[in-house]
Amino acid sequence: MMFETLFYISLFLCAAGCIFQWVRFRRAGLMFKPASSDRFNPGRLYPNPVNLILSFLNTIFQIRLFAAGKIRWLFHFFVFAGFLYLVTVHAFHQVTAVVLFDYYDPTVDPFQFLRNLFGSLVVAGCILFFLRRGLRLRVNQIKSNWGSHLKYKGLVSIILVFLIVGTGFLLEASKIISEPVFMEMVEDYSDLEEGDELEELKLFWQEKAFVSFDPTVPADPEKLKNGQVLNEVYCISCHSDIRSSFVSCLLADLMSFYGTVLNQTRVDVMLYRVHYGLCLALIVFLPFSRLNHIFLIPLSIAVKNQAPKTHHQKTAQVFGASLFACTNCGYCSQVCSVYPHFQITGNPDVLPHSKIETLKKIADKHPDVSLWGLQKGNNACTQCNKCTQICPSGIDLQTLWAVTHRIFSDNALVNNQTFFNRILPEAWADLETEPRMLIARQELVSDLIEKTDAFENCIQCTICTNVCPVVEYDSKDNDYTPQQVMNLLRLDQKHLASGTRMVWTCLTCYACQDICPQKIPVTDIILELRHLGGVRADAVKLQQTVKKRVEIS
């Protein structure tokens, strides 16, 4: 009765946790609300049947994971298949096995054997899992520490699973060796009283089934034979040969050394409580643990296939829930097209698996987040779709990166082109930047604007301006022409030059450069001015985000 009450309390807590999480997902999704101009469609889920079936098959067989990594799939499948069997057939046997099989009893084969088989699969999978973590064989741990901050993510659930199955085996073993359990069963299933027959049955179970009796029943071949007959009469109909529970027998054999002590303290009762308690803990913990990916992955896949392909029509809950379907496996970052960007800058938020973590932190209003790093990192994304294709969780990363810029809209963190559209070159040139904020300083390797000989020969002939498509089509908005930008450099006004619209709307078509009679690398200089402006703009943006954070705290 008490166990049942506890079970319903945990179910209730689990449901409450699910509601809490759903609200959290929604809040995360709403971060990607576009700026006022286009209307935001919160969206509804209408998964179509084909996608649902595919999604279901993926949940059972982890097809996407198989495509990404075979070895990882193998031991993931060990844990999953084993635990799925144990949950359905063993834990909830009253609503599954008992209904389906009229001969069901936990102690009858094949159930006794299968329970051990699937349990050992889970244990094997868990051990491989721990080994992989310990030996740093995870994808995102292999390369130069780029997943080190995610080292302990998702450990709690796998430890819980391991403990549940582990205590399960110990429980079964402690019941096997238990004299009190044996006596209870004799009372329930036979009409034997104290006497010779009971002694014979005891002897049989002591010799053949590891039960530890106190005092030990003296061996006698004749009695053993009689015991076997009694076993066939009373026990065998609903208790198969104990040796089919091969793992527990192994443990029972070991435990029988301390059999008397263990039986006196009723260790089996204790283990039952622990085992049951851990299961309840898992239920309560389910919405918050890594295990929630079992439900979130099908959701994110179904929704990804369902929702409209155009970016601006995606929905709030989609992103919210699919953000949390991420299991930090790191396959996305392994194939990321802009991985060299990370190699040079060391900014982890270039890489997809790290960006997801940062986005989750932002959704939860975590104070320790570098919005600036995320903005820089996400700007580098080339929308190559590789991460989306490999993601075992089926998250629509492609769309996610395309809308990530929306969370910066009320911050100073816009991309450089927008940044320079909002500020006049003259104001930009006068803007003070705190030197300590120039942490984004990059070596200006090509050095054209620092060496006067690159541009000093400009004769202001305006040929560059005449061939420039930007000047031709944008006469209204454009400020300086290419030859004027060159002249600004000759006047030692590089900061002013780096803030001109000309520099930031340049198409980089190189028409000016190849036609210049003075062989001035006009486009290369403009690109370098962008670089220079970008470094200072980063410092300004960083300054503003820091200020904002100070104000908040």
Binding site: H341, I344, K386, Q417, T418, E443, S446, L507, D514, I526
Partner: protein
Amino acid sequence: MKLAYFPGCKISFYLKAYGDSFESVMKHLGIDLVRLEFNCCGYPARGEHFEISVFSAIKNLAVAHKNKLDIITPCKCCFGQFKHAVFWYYKHKNLKTKIDDLLDQENLSWDGSTQIHHLLSFLYHEIGLDTLEKRSVKKFSGKKIAVQYGCHALRPFSVTRFDHPYAPTIFEDLVRVTGMVPVEWPKSTECCGNPILEGHKALSLTILENKFKSASLAGAEYICTACTHCQMQYEMTDYESDIDTHGVKPVLFTRILDAAFGGKTVF
């Protein structure tokens, strides 16, 4: 003949038709395309971060070098970026040292031997017009077409060595193989507007519209592209309904060629 296929980032999601028709054309010509684990060519980082842009490109070349293959790309921005990166890699000793160190960490190295081909220059120089002429079983005689060269392969000439930066001819010659008639078009070497699509959309689309107009005045039915970004820019008409195309349709060169070779493409 074996070549490392460098599709670039955009083809797999935004322009599958280009990738498919490119592969089909190469198959017809007996070229074996090998897919390696490439990263971004570095073009998007040009002007953002010089080192990243050069390093990204050289890393790809090193990956190709490791597999003893030359690179072919259908994208002109990727092609131009490779050439650009090689140019600066040799020009700056410090940069070269830094990149070599980074490559070394991943057991890669590059000695400059890897050849970089663009689709057009490869067809023109390595395959030859005669072979293409012979293979074209279907001719589109009399169809007038305007060719879009694409800036980053053409210029700066001293770096890319693709064709004459203002009066190129190879694309026209290649189009003639299929029986089409290339028109005289003043804007064939001008930018399509794609690089500033995100930063300055209005200007980008104005440039695009003017290209359609000018091609139509030259009497062209189609604008032919051989660059991922150019084609994506012309296909903006699918999303922006108020762009006047003047009845000119953008078409990928590989799709014409595939159709001419008797491939699956219906054109």
